[in-house]
Symmetry: C2
Subunit: 288 residues, 2 copies
Amino acid sequence: MAAAEVVKVIKVFGGSLTKFKHTSAVCKCPMVYSVFTPSTASVESPAPLVMWLSGLTCTDDNFMQKAGAFEAATQHGITICCPDTSPRQENKIDGEEDSWDFGTGAGFYVNATEEGFSNQGYNMYDYVTQELPTLLAEDKSIDTANVSIMGHSMGGHGALVCALKNPGKYKSASAFAPICHPTGCPWGEKAFNGYLGSVEAGQEYDASLLVKSYDGPKLNILSDQGGADSFLTGDVDQLQPATLVDGAKDNANIALNSRSQEGYDHSYFFIASFIREHLDFHAGFLKA
Amino acid sequence: MAAAEVVKVIKVFGGSLTKFKHTSAVCKCPMVYSVFTPSTASVESPAPLVMWLSGLTCTDDNFMQKAGAFEAATQHGITICCPDTSPRQENKIDGEEDSWDFGTGAGFYVNATEEGFSNQGYNMYDYVTQELPTLLAEDKSIDTANVSIMGHSMGGHGALVCALKNPGKYKSASAFAPICHPTGCPWGEKAFNGYLGSVEAGQEYDASLLVKSYDGPKLNILSDQGGADSFLTGDVDQLQPATLVDGAKDNANIALNSRSQEGYDHSYFFIASFIREHLDFHAGFLKA
C-alpha cells in the first residue's frame, strides 16, 4: 500500500489535525482523510482511536470543524479519524453527481455490487473497516488495536453496521441520529437499489436487522436522536430509532442505550451538544 | 426601532442559538445577527453578554459553527452575540464586492466618512456599540448592562477599539490575532483610505494608538496570537502584536495580557483551542 501524503497540519488543543491524501486501492481513486492526534499521543504511549463516519454530503472536514470534539478527546487522550463519505471519481459514473443523497458524498458504507459503482470504487465498507485502519496502523502513535466507532445519520448507520458485522473489532459504537433501518426508508432504498441492485441485498447492511442476530462479545452502543429532527418528524421517517431498540431488545449480547434528546435537530449543533458524552462513553471501553 | 425578526432557532447545549434579522437604521439595510442564549438565562436571572466581532469575510455564522464556545458559555451562563461584519448592500457601491478585504464582509468596525460608503451604511462602529446593544436590551433575559467584547483578526481590532473608545462600557476585552496597528499595515491602510479618506483619519480606530491615551476605569485585555499565523509570519505583518504591548506598557489604566501561542495559525482551530480561557477571563469580570 502506498503511504499517505500529508496535505496539511494544523495545531489544535495542543495536538494536531492532519489532512492526509492517498491513492486508495479499494476506492480506486485518491482519497482524503483527517486525523486529530491529541497532545498526549506518542510512540511510547499510543492513543486509542475513534473512527467518525460522516453523513450525506459531508467530507472529512465537517466533523473536525463543527463538532467541538477536541477538548474532550484531548482530556481522554483519544485519536479521531474522519474518512470521506464516498469515492470522489469526478463524475465518471452516470448519475453520480445528480443527487445529494446518492453517489458522490453518499457512499452509504457498503461495498457496491452493481456495475459502474462496484468497478469505480464504491466500496466504503472495505475502505473504513480494512484499508484505512491498515494505513493508520503505520502511525505508531495510534493504538489501532483499541478502536471504537461512531457516526452521524448515514454515518451513524455506517458505524452501527461496521460494529455489528465485525464482532470484537470495535470496543464500542455510538451514533447521532443514525439511519437505523435503511431497508425500510427512502434513503436506504435508493442507496441499496443503486449500489447493490435491490433493497433485499441491503439487509446485510441494516443495523436493525443485524442487531437481532449479533452473537459476538458484548457490544455497547450509545445512540442519540434529536426529538425535533426533521428527518424523524417529517412526512417520511428516515431514521426510525424504535426499530433499533426493537431489534436489540431480545439480544443479550447487545447493550443499547438509545436516547431521545428533546428539541434537538439533525445538525452539528446537536452533535456538539453531546459529543463529550459520546467520547466519555467510548473512553470507558477504550481505556478499560 | 423596528423589532428584530426571528429567522430560526436551534437548540444547542440545552440553550438556544437564534438567528435574527432586522432593518438597521445605522447600516441602512437588513442585517442579520445570531445570539447564543445559555439554558440558565431567564428574565428573573438575565445572563451577561459577550459580543463577538468576526474577521474579514465572515458572517454571524462562523463563530457559532466553529468556535466550540457553547459548553464554556453554558457553564458560565454567558450570552454571546455575533453581528455580521459589514452591511450587505447587494453591490450598490462601486468596488464593494471586488476584494475580500474591503467592502462586503470587511466593514472594519468604523463609521465611514467617504461618500458612497458613509451614505450606504458602512457604520459598523455605531452598529456594534449603539444600535445592536439597544436592540438586544429588548430581550430581558440578557443583562446588557454587563457586557464584554472579543473578536478575531479584523474583529479583534474592532473589539479592542470599541473597548478603548468607550471607557466603562465593557467589563473586559479580548482578542484572537487582532489587527493591532491598522494605520501601519496594508489591511488597515486600505480600509481607512477607502472608508475614511486617509490613513491618518484611521488613527482614532487604531488600538495601539488608543491604548496609550486610554484614561477610563482599569481595562483588562487578554490577547492571543498564534506563532505560526501566516498573517504574522508572512512577508507582511498585518497583526503587529508588539505594537499593542508597547502602546500599553506605560498606561496604568490598561492591564494587557498579550500571549504568543506557539504553533497556532489564524484559523478557528486556534480560536477553539483557547475560547474557554477567553470566556473564563470575561466571566471573571462579568460575574464579579
